[in-house]
Amino acid sequence: MFYSLDRVSGEGNSLAIIRTFDLTKKFGEFTAVDHLNLSIEEGEIFGLLGPNGAGKTTTLLMLTTVIKPTEGTAYVGEYDITKEPDKARRLVGMAFQEPKLMWVMTPWDVLNWHAKVCGLSSSERKQRVKWALTELGLWEDRHKSVHTFSGGMRKRVEVAKILIQRPKIAIVDEPTTQIDIVGKHRIWNMIRALRDEGSTIILATNELYEADILSDRVAIMHRGKLLVCDSPKKLKDSIVGGDLIELVLEKEAAENTVEELKKIEKVVDVLAIKPNHLRIYLNHAEEVLPQITELFMKARLPIRSIRMSEPSLDDVFAHYTGLTIEEAEKQ
């Protein structure tokens, strides 16, 4: 079957390292992933966002050739995952949502075994395992049994696998769940470093802040379907009137000033909370703010305080689904 690139969601497909074409997975009557079309560019951090059960992990398992699609296919590099899974698999490495620690006992053994299977030489293996354990704060515990570790420590061992492997396409599924804030920052920095070294990163997460700060582009999935895919900035901007500016003035704003405010391009609505307290709904707040301040200066209305906020990816998710992430997970 011929798959056309036109159907794939993404900015441009010339540098695409992963392309999915109507990728679908059904488990009996349940459709976990429903005709997914997306394109991931080489060298980007691509966030796959959605509540639990959205189909993120199933998508990743198909891309790593762990499970076969029911319908459609995907290209990993130049390889069709349904026709050349062995070749496709060699380009990909995955850190799983639940740590997979096998029957070996210590983090050193777990990582050394993983590195060995990935074909690293003995000296390279030792060097990288030591580096990853040190960077993730596990060096002191390298000979302790992983079965005595906390959830966060086990998770770090899982993430270390990908850092050691340094695959062309690194997939990280919920990399920072159960990890404290210092550990989160450490892992985020290492994911960025991995990208800087040439890996393309696919980050599956339901932590919206994580997706926002790390991802070059984000795809939001819900009930197995792709809702939208773009850069976090563009996704936020796609919510009409999503930005917010709150102004507190030294004295009451005249009615004609409010009307002039409404006429400014990109201002969607103005709400007077109090006579001297205005809430402005708009797009591209950072571009419009100078015009707003100029208007008040001309009207000789001194501004006491300005508070500016932009929508979060939570708002983007809510905008496209009508649900918060928490509500979607309950469904």
């Binding site: 997975k25 488990f27 398992l61 790593t64 050739t65 762990v66 499970i67 076969k68 899974p85 062995d86 698999r89 060699r90 990909v92 490495g93 995955m94 799983f96 639940e98 997979k100 620690l101 096998m102 029957w103 070996v104 053994d109 993983h114 299977v117 990935c118 074909g119 695959p167």
Partner: protein, 245 residues
């Protein structure tokens, strides 16, 4: 990893000692002179060589339980995501499982060889190589069965039934001369017969063989090849479809 089944290992070693030091010695005193003659002059040696093969078989089939344990702990997904082909993965599992049980059984095998006496080191080398392959084949068979049966309990029961037939319809414990003809006919195609007979040949108990060493080695190679191939096919079909979930 090697000592993952410490408890099983200790119990199997105790089972082996009981089989040799109690059952083997007592039965040896019970058997008639004609049995002693047919088994090369000493039934005890014949029995001891057979029980080593039985132990190797029962230790190796344990890899099937690993498959279920891995599925329960989500390790299956990890193994399937590794940058190796399915063929390499199954071969690695079969060889790893076979090697592990071979190493478990090696000290006991050595004890038996010391009891019987090593006459020809070259023969022993050939026999041990064949037993290596036999263990890989059993591991492949166990993987194939584990892949084709979703329920851990059913697998457990099936193994019990299979063990009862495969061990008893072989020459591991008694010579073919005392088997009814129908049983003897079936026993000659049994991989445990091939393994027990090649081990006895290696140890110099030549007079009691059902099968020639060439046939035994050939049978073991076929057994190993068939179940490694089936293991790969079942892995592909079952696991990649998400069937372990």
């Amino acid at each position: 990893m090697f000592l993952h089944y410490k408890f099983v290992l200790i119990l199997r070693a105790l089972w082996f000692l009981a089989q040799i030091a109690l059952f083997g010695l007592i039965v040896n005193r019970m058997v008639k002179e004609e049995v002693q003659v047919v088994t090369g002059g000493n039934y005890f040696y014949f029995y001891a060589a057979g029980i080593v093969v039985t132990l190797l078989y029962s230790m190796t089939v344990f890899i099937g339980y690993d498959i279920y344990e891995e599925a329960d702990h989500g390790v299956t997904e990890y193994l399937l995501s590794l940058p190796v082909s399915r063929r390499e993965l199954v071969l690695g599992r079969a060889i790893g499982g076979g090697l592990r049980s071979f190493l478990y059984v090696a000290p006991l095998m050595f004890v038996v060889l010391l009891l019987i006496g090593i006459t020809d080191p070259f023969r022993i080398l050939i026999a041990l190589t064949a037993l290596f392959l036999f263990a890989f084949g059993v591991a492949g068979m166990s993987i194939t069965l584990a892949m084709s049966i979703k329920s851990h309990d059913r697998f457990d029961i099936l193994l019990g039934v299979l063990n009862a037939f495969i061990v008893r319809l072989s020459t591991t414990m008694y010579p073919v001369a005392f088997m009814p003809p129908q049983y003897a006919a079936m026993a000659q195609f049994n991989p445990l017969t091939f393994a027990a007979d090649i081990f006895r040949w290696g140890a110099g108990l030549e007079a009691v063989l059902l099968t020639s060493p060439f046939v035994s080695v050939f049978g073991i190679v076929v057994f190993f090849s068939v179940f490694t191939f089936l293991g790969i096919v079942f892995y592909e079909k079952r696991l990649e479809g998400g069937g372990w979930r």
